[in-house]
Amino acid sequence: MRRLFLSLMTLVLCLGASAQETPDTLSAARVSSVRGSVVAPQVITSKELRSVSALPEAVRRFAGVQLRDYGGVGGLRTVNVRSLGSEHTGVFVDGIQVDNAQNMQVDLGRFGLEGLGAVSLFSGQKSSPLQSAKEYSSASSLYLESSEPVFRPGKRDNWIIGSSVGSFGTFSPRAVWEHAFKGGTSLRLTGEGVSSTGRYRFHVKDYRQYPDGSIAGYDTTMTRQNCDLAGVRAEARLSSPRSSGSFWNIHAYFYGSGRGLPGPVYKKAGEYPLSLDRQTDRDAFIQGRYVREICKGWSMALRTKLSFSHLEYTDFPELAPEDSPARYNYRNHSAYLSAAASRTAGKFRLNVAQDLQYDYLDADLRGFVFPGRLSSWSCVSAAFLTGPLDVSANLLYLIERDSFLSGDDRSSSSRDALMPSLVFSWKPSGRLSVNGFAKRSFRMPTFNDLYYTTVGSKTLDPEDAFQLDLGAEWRAVESISHHLALKVDVYRNLLRNKIIAVPTSNQFRWSMYNLGKVSVLGGDLTADYSFRFDDGEAGLVARYTLQRSRDRSDPEALTWNGQIPYIPLHSGSVNLFGSFSGWRADMTFFATGERFTTSANLPAYRLAPWTTLDAALSKDISLKTGSLSLKLRLNNLLNEQYAIVDNYPMPGFNFLFGITFAF
């Protein structure tokens, strides 16, 4: 099968080469996630990306989003959109999904900012022409769009070298080489390394108030240990010249790292470390996309991807680390192929897509069943685009066939799902647009849910997410110097068959069941104001999210109707920025209300609200030989001691200074 995909890949390349037309590097329309979509996503532009030092810092700014962050340089960071759980958010790199069949957690910390053009979040359904079928499958989708290299007239090579140093003993050098071939094909090679001790001090504190009004407690400082990180990321991206008829690109990615897993903070007798566990990762993929017009009105897109990831987890005996540790290896293999065709005829647009993917997981656990999964997504999407009113109706059918070792033979199981969605956008005036969607999507059980030895349950159904959304965007002020836009979204989500672990009839054995049910009523509000002056720009973006996410699993339980774990009722952020003659300054304020670690919302399980203030300052200096860019990022200026995940303290004040030279 691998060979088949490789030859298909070659075919794609050949097609791409033959489709080359006159070099026209910049003029062709940029294929971004936004173009042609019925509903506009939330977008963080490349300009705004300059104010952050890592992708998760940008993603957490979106309204309706909760970033799950285990803290520190090596801590896992995943995104949860509208309380549906991170498994329901698809992360796409240039329109191709980043997968992890083992647990569906995509660590946002593994993507760089170099070469990233924009980050956009579609809650509900993106509906653009030539979408792959998988792009219809997630409840929400996060798109990371690469930028295309830009060459100044007469230049064929761009070099960017840079380095960052900062808190936690972090040192991160990077280099980018962009090259324009004759004929207009461009290449970008990116290399980045990071090394960090990851250590930081944090407070452990607990104060309690007594009926007589007195307060007593403790506040002590500790240092996070075993949280070092060393990693490299290397990427190569080859893009065809832009022409009206066709384009292609190929993207190869490698990420390798070794890190300490500091684990949760809990009381431990002094002489023993909390954790000595380590994790080593090797992730690699190569993906390609080829888009062309076939004949008038028809166009097509081919996408393909091969990926491999290897995770090694090492559990060291804490009392005697010299003893042999327990090691576990997980190897994910995946191959993906997609074909999409789109026809536009007047106000009518038809999109059909067919995707196929094969996943296989190899692990050296006792009694492991070596699951494989063949998935097929078939999609038909029809859009009616009148201008004032755009409507898109989409139907996706997913067939999934798993095979796994059962005794000496392989058994199989299958899950199918029909996922309809309807998206509309109505523009009664040039400044006001009303949009909404209804979508039902299913999240397939992960390999861990299904096949984790003696815990996984092979009869699980997929998680069932139903979303209803109504929103409006009003561009209140649109003048040459001032811009004010207000955006509001109200949504109702219902999550059924949520997969949770519970003890079975034999309480020593846990298993996964489709028992959870969550009902979400939410609202997002965004205000975006900016004004331009002679040589600069200033403005603010304020975002507020209200999410009432109730646990509706068991009417008899203490958890009934409680706010689900880790979702705050209120959260929001304010980003203030100003740029002037090469300078750019940003201040970002985040606030998250109280949360609970269980749906039983008792005071003992309450997590305190937190606020952080971050700042960034950058300066671009034009030199004869190139341009120099300096960037200082100050995180958590007020040194707030907080945790996003219980017992995983976040760092207090920290900084990162970066210098980049482009020539």
Partner: protein, 392 residues
């Protein structure tokens, strides 16, 4: 997940219900109001029922609650309220509670501490570092703590230990290697008995190690059954030990893992008076157990475990002084049918009241009090995974 499984396997206490009566003095914890859950029992010989909540694995949220007999109030997190300045509170995964000589002894498996508190007001006296402690037992001068001693699941097989703690200076003053992953422990005369589980091993252990108290050396080992866990001695010196049984995981036609018990969960007894001859008690499935001063061993287990069903059953087994045959009452059909996951049991020797700790795993658990006829007397919301109880 493996450590998680360990947590699940770490079960209820060997509750040493010291039958000491408590004079009615006002202790400092009288200010803790708690929640009224029952009518007070003025004539109770006990002042408190302590409940140790294990907390989630590595969540550092183990707590000590108590039910106060005088006013029928249930006080949550009494340790935290009485010792607010103790950094990180009780700690992680409370695995055993015992009352000895006016002190509450708490065995914190995740934190690697054994805490001693004043039983009258829950104020801390000392915290003793002990690696991977599991269960505790006493003689007049020492405490004995079973320990996994640094073994990890998936690592090399590693013997556990019993640590001896001096009650005069609260220091470890001796240790002895026993079998793998030792659990329940009891002192009988000049001998210490500890149940070896071998829970991390591919093939489980099946012995009780016998340690000579004077020399702190293992003198013999008694072959009982596979995967031993709870161990307690009655007043005659007979040792009662439970086994989690032996199961094989196989897959059904749908590929689901099903557990086939090759040996059921069981209860066994032996005594040095008959040369450690092991007697099985037939058809008693033990998920949690306690020996009460009324002459009976009480246990709860799933009677339908062999067929994959769910039938929680309360067993009453006569031990020293108890009379009659083993009785078994199925909890469904009684007030106790509302108990979801019986995780710990304690019995009041005066009136036969049965306390059941009911763990919920994702939410706070409950403590239920039933009369000896399994009529509901009261219930209270406990902490995360209530499991271990003791009367004071």
């Amino acid at each position: 997940m493996n450590k998680f499984a360990l947590l699940v396997f770490s079960m209820a206490a060997l509750v040493v219900t010291a039958g000491c009566s408590k004079e009615e003095t006002t202790s400092r914890d009288a200010d803790l109001a708690g929640v009224n859950v029952a009518v007070g029992e003025k004539k109770s010989p006990f002042s408190k029922l302590f409940v140790l909540n294990e907390g989630g694995f590595q969540k550092n949220n183990s707590t000590l609650d108590f039910f106060r007999f005088s006013d029928g109030n249930y006080v949550s997190d009494a340790f935290g309220s009485m010792n607010p300045a103790v950094v990180q509170g009780l700690g992680d995964t409370g695995n055993d509670i015992a009352i000895h000589d006016g002190k509450i002894w708490l065995v914190m498996n995740g934190s690697g501490f054994v805490h001693a508190l004043d039983a009258s007001d829950e104020t801390i006296i000392v915290s003793i570092p002990v690696p991977d402690p599991r269960y505790i037992a006493f003689d007049d001068s020492h405490a004995y703590v079973s320990s996994y001693a640094g073994a990890i699941y998936g690592g090399d097989a590693k013997k556990g230990k019993v640590y001896r703690i001096s009650l005069s200076n609260y220091r470890i003053d001796g240790e002895v290697e026993v079998g793998c992953q030792p659990e329940g422990i009891a002192v009988v005369g000049n001998e210490i008995f500890v149940a070896n589980s071998g829970g991390y091993n591919w093939v489980h252990e099946n012995t009780v190690s016998v340690i000579d108290r004077a020399t702190l050396k293992v003198t013999s080992s008694v072959e009982v059954a596979s995967n031993l866990h709870f161990l307690a001695a009655d007043s005659n010196g007979t040792v009662w030990v439970s086994s989690y049984g032996e199961s094989a995981w196989t897959q059904d036609d749908d590929g689901n893992w099903i557990q086939n018990m090759s040996e059921p969960m069981g209860l066994f007894s032996f005594s040095n008076k008959n040369g450690y001859g092991v007697t099985p008690v037939n058809n008693v499935h033990v998920s949690c157990m306690t020996i009460c001063d009324d002459g009976y061993l009480y246990a709860i287990g799933n009677a339908a475990e062999m067929t994959g069903g769910y039938d929680n059953t309360l067993y009453k087994v006569p031990v020293a002084g108890g009379a009659g045959a083993v009785t078994a009452v199925s909890l469904p059909g009684t007030d106790a049918s509302r108990v979801g996951n019986p995780y710990g049991i304690c019995v009041n020797p005066r009136n036969g009241d049965i306390y059941i700790a009911d763990a919920d795993y994702t939410a706070p658990g409950k403590v239920w009090c039933f009369t000896k006829d399994l009529k509901l007397k009261w219930s209270a919301v406990a902490g995360i995974i209530p499991a271990h109880m003791a009367l004071y």
